[in-house]
């Protein structure tokens, strides 16, 4: 299967499909309520000329809207995570643990942090699945 360009709608569709297809996701995420946005800071030197906003809707093991969106929609999510392109890539490739990135300030989060910590298995699960999406990164094109 061909690689999908990172952080495009096609990539979001592939990511959503991978989550839906995961045999454990529904059980692990049965208590999770709420949307998550990923904001990717621009880095022209790595092929990311503008900020990218990605919106993902999760609800009790089901997966809803997964879209590339505008700033307003991204900021409307229950949880908003922001970081540089290079950090997100490291997280996706499992070169950087998301918790570690948060504690180091490499990723920033707005939202109910205790809720996220209570549901850290869900976070780890979706990151694990993200690593399975065959991705064409802009700085590797």
């Amino acid at each position: 299967m061909a690689k999908v360009k990172a952080m495009t709608q096609e990539w979001m569709d592939a990511y959503k499909a991978a989550i839906v297809a995961d045999p454990e996701y529904k059980t692990v995420a049965k208590d999770w309520e709420g949307s998550v946005s990923l904001i990717v800071n621009p880095d022209p030197s790595k092929g990311v000329p503008e900020t990218i906003y990605l919106f993902q809707d999760y609800w009790h093991g089901d997966v809803g809207e997964f879209v590339v969106c505008d700033k307003a929609k991204a900021e409307s999510a229950k949880f908003v995570m922001t970081g540089d392109y290079a950090r997100w890539k490291q997280v996706a490739l499992k070169e950087l643990d998301a918790t570690k990135a948060l504690l180091q300030g490499k990723l920033k989060m707005k939202g109910d942090l205790p809720y996220v910590v209570r549901n850290i298995k869900v976070v780890n699960k979706v990151i694990d699945i993200l690593g399975r999406v065959d991705t064409q990164w802009p700085d590797e094109a």
């Binding site: 918790t99 910590v117 850290i120």
Partner: protein
């Protein structure tokens, strides 16, 4: 409310913002944690060598000040990797006490046994440790 009782003076340590956020949210959301917090006196160091970050939390009966680095000689010093420290926040509280006999609790005991988690002062300041666990638990 919580901003006035959790004073973060460790702004150069990003990890301090996570601790401030967790503690402030817990105190706002759970009145029983606030009650415990108001009875806490003592100094706790949190050291995460893998990311070269450390803070000291100075509790003073309903207020806490967070300083960068390990300051003075804390009553408790928790040494852990950044990836494992979050597991401490997942400990369940039963009958007002940390509960170590479920998955989250056993995970912490396993880390203590293996040396991945080290808590200096845990035997000399068990009440402070219990109260700290209670206010930092997100469960």
């Amino acid at each position: 409310m919580a901003d006035t009782i959790v004073e973060n003076r460790a702004e150069e340590v990003p990890f301090s913002y996570v601790i401030t956020d967790l503690l402030s949210s817990n105190l706002q959301q759970k009145p029983d944690k606030m009650k415990t917090f108001q009875n806490m006196w003592g100094v706790v160091g949190l050291n995460l060598p893998d990311i070269e970050a450390a803070i000291t939390m100075i509790f003073a009966g309903g207020r806490v000040r967070i300083e960068p680095g390990i300051v003075g000689k804390p009553d408790l010093v928790i040494n852990s990797s950044s990836e494992k420290i979050i597991s401490l926040n997942a400990i369940n509280i039963k009958f007002g006490l940390p509960y170590y006999f479920d998955e989250a609790g056993l995970n912490v005991l396993k880390q203590l046994a293996s040396g991945e988690l080290k808590i200096q002062g845990m035997f000399t300041h068990p009440i402070l440790l219990t109260r700290l666990t209670k206010i930092m638990s997100v469960m």
